[in-house]
Symmetry: C2
Subunit: 523 residues, 2 copies
């Protein structure tokens, strides 16, 4: 019988207080792999909260350099362990080692940690603001212990122990309690061991980072309600996210949730006529990449006008049918996709291809699935047709004309992204002008002539959007410096004596942070 993995609490790798365990399952074979992992009960949660709370008291006095140093050491350690990490993550997630895990996601993760380190060291993210005449100064400061809950689909880049929310929360000066995703616990604990070494080398409080693998839902909500927890970063399902949101809302606690998005793509008539075949290729590639398991997967494509629509649909259908069925992350992903497909189909969408699980020596997979519905039908039940079908699945909506497309956009929920393809010769410009403002209000990121998959780690990125894509339309989960500000409180100092101010607000500006001094941004 395999070992029961230890949790990492208060600086120690220790036996969990748990009444249950779970194992990872290799989705390419359906076979359990690796150690057993504990489902922590409240004793573990309590210990994590107490230790994080204690660390939060001393962190304001820890030099930012030391935190940045930890993030950089950790990044380097991940880089050096890339081969083994990618192989392990592949086993647990079915995602290909190369290029996806080793050449794309892992370098992206390392890059995020390094960007966060730079932001932490330098401090501009905190928008230091000085009114020298009034003697008032303010800055975004650490909010306190953050619970970071990672999703299933990015074992590195969004992992609770090393991903974007982790990097942002730590760089903003907060202790993190990481909850790994149960579908890749081995990858998570391997990362945590690298974090532990880097933390020790940096001379930081050892409970700055802690790890639990899983807890019963009720214990998780109890953590959200606990006054020692200041904030939550969550990427995952809408149903789990809404429960977290409610628990945090009741206690006036900011929770940053990335929940669900179907990422509408709109193709205007002239570009469809001019480049229909290319677009069918581009769309299929984006939708099927990684077996469609991206937050920004294009799950809804709206064609405007009848001309050329059927050729496009047929071309996509053929590509979906011809492409191999990618391995899914877990049984849950498969079940949830099948249930979403059943709902959309049941509401009256036509199944063009796919729709069934692939049984293939235990491998967890789903046929690439394409559905179709007319604009008129969509408008009869817009909620049902916006059901998220996470996986290699998309719904094509054929709108009769611009006005019907506009009516459809008006019924869309909040999404992370929205794309509009239009021709280069001006023929679609009037349509763009009519539709873009409606889409703009419903998405965080508006794209032109480009599919939504691929979320650059850029200061200008918004990986966020209106509810229910996230819980607050003003924040982004990707992109430094803005992502750090989520895990902060605004701290104002009024007439506070110079030597008592935090370094970043003192007259000297040793870290060369950008500061808004009497209305001018200056270093």
């Amino acid at each position: 019988m395999s070992e029961i993995a230890k949790v990492w609490l208060d600086g120690l790798w220790c036996d969990s207080h748990s009444s249950q365990t779970f194992t990872a399952i290799n989705p390419s074979t359906g076979v359990p792999i690796g150690d057993q992992y504990p489902v922590s009960n409240w004793v573990d949660c309590e210990r994590a909260l107490a230790a994080a709370d204690a660390v939060a008291q001393v962190l304001p006095d820890v030099p930012r350099d030391r935190i940045a140093d930890f993030l950089e050491r950790y990044a380097t350690a991940i880089e050096l362990d890339a081969e083994a990490l990618a192989n392990l993550a592949h086993e647990e997630t079915g995602l290909p080692v190369t290029p996806r895990l080793k050449d794309v996601e892992l370098p992206r993760t390392v890059n995020q940690l390094r960007q966060a380190a730079t932001a932490c060291r330098e401090g501009s993210w905190s928008l230091p603001t000085i009114d020298s005449k009034a003697g008032i100064r303010s800055v975004h400061a650490a909010i306190g212990p953050v619970l970071v809950i990672g999703p299933n689909n990015f074992p590195f880049a969004f992992n609770g122990i090393c991903g974007g929310d982790f990097a942002a929360a730590i760089a903003a000066g907060n202790p993190v309690i990481a909850k790994g995703h149960p579908s890749h616990p081995g990858t998570t604990v391997r990362l945590a061991r690298l974090a532990a070494t880097a933390l020790a080398e940096s001379g930081l409080p050892s409970a700055l980072v802690q790890l639990i693998y899983r807890m019963p839902g009720e214990e998780g909500l109890k953590m959200m309600r606990d006054p020692r927890l200041a904030s939550v970063g969550f990427t995952g399902s809408k149903s789990a996210g809404l429960k977290i949101k409610q628990a945090c809302d009741e206690h006036g606690k900011p929770a940053y949730l990335e929940m669900s998005s179907i990422n509408p793509v709109l193709i205007l008539p002239a570009v469809l006529q001019q480049r229909g075949a290319d677009l069918a290729q581009e769309f299929s590639g984006s939708c099927l990449m990684g077996a469609g398991q991206f937050c920004t997967n294009p799950g809804l494509i709206i064609l405007v006008g009848q001309a050329n629509a059927s050729e496009f649909v047929a071309a996509v259908q053929a590509k979906f049918a011809a492409a191999p069925a990618g391995t899914l992350l877990s049984r849950q992903v498969l079940d949830s996709a099948l249930s979403g497909i059943a709902k959309v189909h049941g509401a009256g969408a036509q199944l063009l291809t796919g729709g069934k699980a692939v049984t293939d020596n235990g491998r967890l997979a789903l046929e690439n699935t394409l559905l179709h519905v007319t604009g008129q039908k969509f408008l009869e039940n817009p909620d049902a047709f916006q059901t998220e079908m996470f996986g290699p699945v998309s719904l094509i909506v054929t709108a009769s004309d611009l006005e019907q497309a506009r009516a459809i956009l008006h019924r869309l929920e909040g999404n992370l992204t929205g794309c509009i393809y239009s021709s280069n010769d001006g023929a679609d410009d009037a349509g763009y002008a009519r539709l873009a403002p409606v889409l703009r209000q419903r998405v965080g990121r508006l794209l032109n002539d480009k599919m939504p998959t691929g979320v650059a780690v850029s200061a200008a990125m918004n990986h966020g959007g209106p509810f229910p894509a996230t819980g607050h339309p003003g924040f982004t989960a990707v992109g430094i410096p803005a992502s750090l500000r989520r895990f902060s409180a605004l701290h104002c100092y009024d007439n506070v004596r110079a030597e008592r101010l935090p370094t970043i607000l003192q007259d000297a500006n040793p870290s060369q942070a950008w500061r808004l001094v009497d209305g001018q941004w200056t270093k």
Copy 2:
């Protein structure tokens, strides 16, 4: 019989659909004054939402200059009408015409509108961010219709029709539905008429600003739940604020709430010994000013150590007893203060002076009220002793020593402000170092050697704080540019063609906004 005032909906002054009316009451005499005002039913609310929604669709295409122009015209109109406005507000609120209303609050209000106009025209508030290499650009943009609900205590500076939230929401490019406070409807409608003229002169959509006076609680919550309403700005009681918060939270809608705060003031031993008499004067002045009806009124004062505490308490007690009882804003304020005093007294605080309503020819007033409790007693029931007693009321806590004071701070809820007085000779420095970090985490604005009343309109101000002082610790209700960002959503543009970008994100930067371009703030 007096007239029934008209509501201002969709650009028209029209009869309200209402089943009830109310009148203002002069708190200096207890006598009803002025017109009758309607309690709007859902027909009015629906009309306001529909009109605001329609305006929100066209506003992105309206030049920012025109919105700024409206704010400036409105500011000037208020200035020109200062005399009449101040007299009317005095009648409705009992606040003195001079200096308070005419010389302080009205100029502050005009200044806020002008600062908001400048911010709107120039655009730096929106943190435009450009990644030229990746072709990604983002900016904080208008969120949509905002319901602004003003409080009783600032008929100008926080009025739903012209105060800080109003100015911020309009300057950020949003339509506002203003709900005046029922205790000063005449002032509110007089301001609204000035707004209407300024709006017409600016050539803006006439439903950019709308006014209702009051609606039943359930209709108000129905507005919060309506998808056409994007956000709420509220200043008022914790009980009303929590209901608004819940309704907005359920729909993933950001609500900015300024709810309650007792604004702890900590006096360390050496400064108490050195300047006790001055501090008694300073504190009494701050607490009794405006009959204590400020969000930042010092309602809890903590003395550390026994020495000199009794002299300080006696001095404050004498000042409270000697000062005239200021007129309160309304019967509700009086009742609520009496109920708060009863609760704190009932929990075991000693009543040192005051505690009773003043009956004085119908005038609504409360004796200046001072209570006392030991630190030990406070710690037995910290919730009860943190009951807000809005008015000329404060609770003195005598902590036996630094450690007991620290324990008290640990039990404090979130507040807008926290003050620490310490000596200049270093004798209190160790105490400051021990206590300030604990207080820091529990307040939005930390002050040294200064009372919390007086909230400068400064870019560095934070008039906000952790729950339950507000609903989110990252935002301020006062201070431009930050207050505008509350009423925004983050809009990202990825690969969007240059001519389709909003002006502020195009390469040319005609408004000379500060923008973060490839990591550098530049104009």
